[in-house]
């Protein structure tokens, strides 16, 4: 019954990972030792089951988009100050800058109807930058809760105004939490919702000038859709990799759940 065979070698034998000499020794042993032979047989069957049953998972599209956006942001932010001592991807940086320049032009065109295109373009940049940053590990929420009664009061004392936080869970847009962020030098409230595996950031702050503004698409940046609107003295912007139609639908639901603010 007993034999001196090292069990681990059987696995390596089955995997074809032994040197020819070693493999020959094991093969010979298996012809005489019934127990090892049965074990090698079991090992082989197990490996077959594992290879059939274990397959790669497909990475979610949102992860693909996040990585693409993060790579893009890396290139842009690294461009002016190359700190690398060793080979630096200059060509990639140049390409990144071209893309950045091209997308600013597009956004300028898209926001031409706005009152101050340059200002709005900057806001759009910062909204998207903040959205991308929020997707990095640990940056999404300062207060994580899907209860509006936790999220809304959290902003008290942190901001001089209180954002609206309707619950849209039943409509497929669960509340994920809230965060304090900055657009320009101004602290703004960010309320975060989800849609399947997409993240939607809603930025809001007291508007500089009066007059309501219907939701309008500010175009896309780095693949993110942006919509802005103004109501009741509050300016709101939202960014997400969610498709434009669903993002528009989300804004409608958000506004429907939001009574106009009375001064």
């Amino acid at each position: 019954m007993d034999c001196a065979m090292d069990r681990d070698l059987l696995g390596a034998y089955v995997d074809g990972e032994l040197l020819p000499g070693q493999a020959a020794e094991v093969a010979e042993h298996l012809t005489t030792c019934e127990r090892c032979s049965a074990e090698a047989d079991m090992m082989l069957k197990t490996v077959r089951r594992l290879r059939e049953g274990l397959v790669r998972d497909r990475a979610p599209d949102v992860l693909r988009a996040r990585i693409r956006a993060a790579l893009h942001e890396e290139r842009i932010t690294d461009a002016p100050a190359p700190r690398r001592v060793t080979p630096f991807p200059w060509r990639a940086v140049a390409a990144g800058l071209l893309i950045a320049a091209a997308s600013s032009v597009l956004t300028l065109v898209a926001t031409r109807s706005g009152s101050t295109p340059a200002g709005n373009s900057t806001i759009a940049d910062e909204v998207v930058a903040s959205h991308i940053r929020s997707l990095m590990p640990g940056h999404l929420t300062d207060v994580e809760s899907n209860d509006q009664h936790n999220v809304k009061p959290w902003f008290n004392g942190r901001l001089d105004f209180s954002p609206v936080v309707p619950r849209l869970d039943s409509l497929g847009f669960p509340l994920l939490g809230g965060r304090l962020d900055y657009i320009g030098t101004r602290p703004v409230a960010v309320v975060i919702y989800g849609r399947r595996k997409h993240v939607i950031n809603v930025f809001s702050w007291p508007a500089d000038s009066g007059g309501d503004m219907q939701p309008s698409a500010v175009g896309t940046r780095h693949g993110y859709n942006i919509i802005r609107w103004k109501r009741g003295g509050v300016e709101s912007w939202t960014a997400s990799d969610l498709n434009a139609d669903e993002l528009r639908q989300f804004v409608e639901l958000l506004r429907a759940g939001t009574p106009p603010r009375r001064e």
């Binding site: 047989d41 397959v55 998972d57 497909r58 992860l63 990585i67 990144g96």
Partner: protein, 174 residues
């Protein structure tokens, strides 16, 4: 026109996202953690890509992913492995489609996932690297930083435990 570093990265490293995500998911047993860590690993890979000197890019990337997973586990979730309930295993998998689109019995696959998730992380990683990625022992040793002999015995033990869970039997010994 010669290929830029980014073009080369996008051609060779980005298509390995499924492999990277799969390893992270088995190591962390949480799809959201896996996404965060893989994103971090990709940024790290991009920063080091200029130093990458040829060879097979897959073990190189998986080493980075694996190391990011272990530092994540050490720094943020020391208690995770103690928790028996695991939504990776028990949660809704309706949206999880295998990358190769094969249609093996769902139940068999679920049993296997559950059995694998119950093994220690050192065993999970060698199984993923060997049975899913098909890496050689030498490559697995390089990815995990463990000696060849250790890889050999971890694989053997992990397989024995999975065989028990799957009720695989060898020939009867008379």
């Amino acid at each position: 026109m010669p290929e830029s570093t980014l073009e080369s990265f996008e051609r060779t490293v980005v298509p390995l996202l499924d492999a990277a995500y799969t390893l992270a998911r088995h190591l962390l047993r949480d799809e959201h953690d896996a996404q965060d860590v893989v994103q971090e690993a990709y940024l790290r890979a991009w920063r080091h890509y200029a130093h990458f000197r040829g060879g097979d890019v897959r073990p190189w990337l998986l080493t980075i992913v694996r190391n990011c997973c272990w530092s994540w586990r050490r720094s943020t979730r020391p208690a995770r492995d103690v928790v028996e309930y695991d939504d990776e295993v028990h949660g809704d998998h309706s949206s999880d489609l295998p990358a190769d689109g094969t249609a093996l019995e769902d139940s068999d696959r679920a049993i296997l996932r559950t059995a694998l998730a119950q093994l220690p992380p050192e065993y999970r990683e060698v199984i993923v690297l060997r049975e899913i990625e098909g890496l050689s022992y030498k490559e697995i040793a390089a990815v995990t930083g463990a000696p060849l002999g250790t890889i050999m015995s971890r694989l053997a033990r992990a397989r024995t435990r999975l065989a028990q869970a799957l009720d695989v039997r060898g020939r009867e010994v008379s």
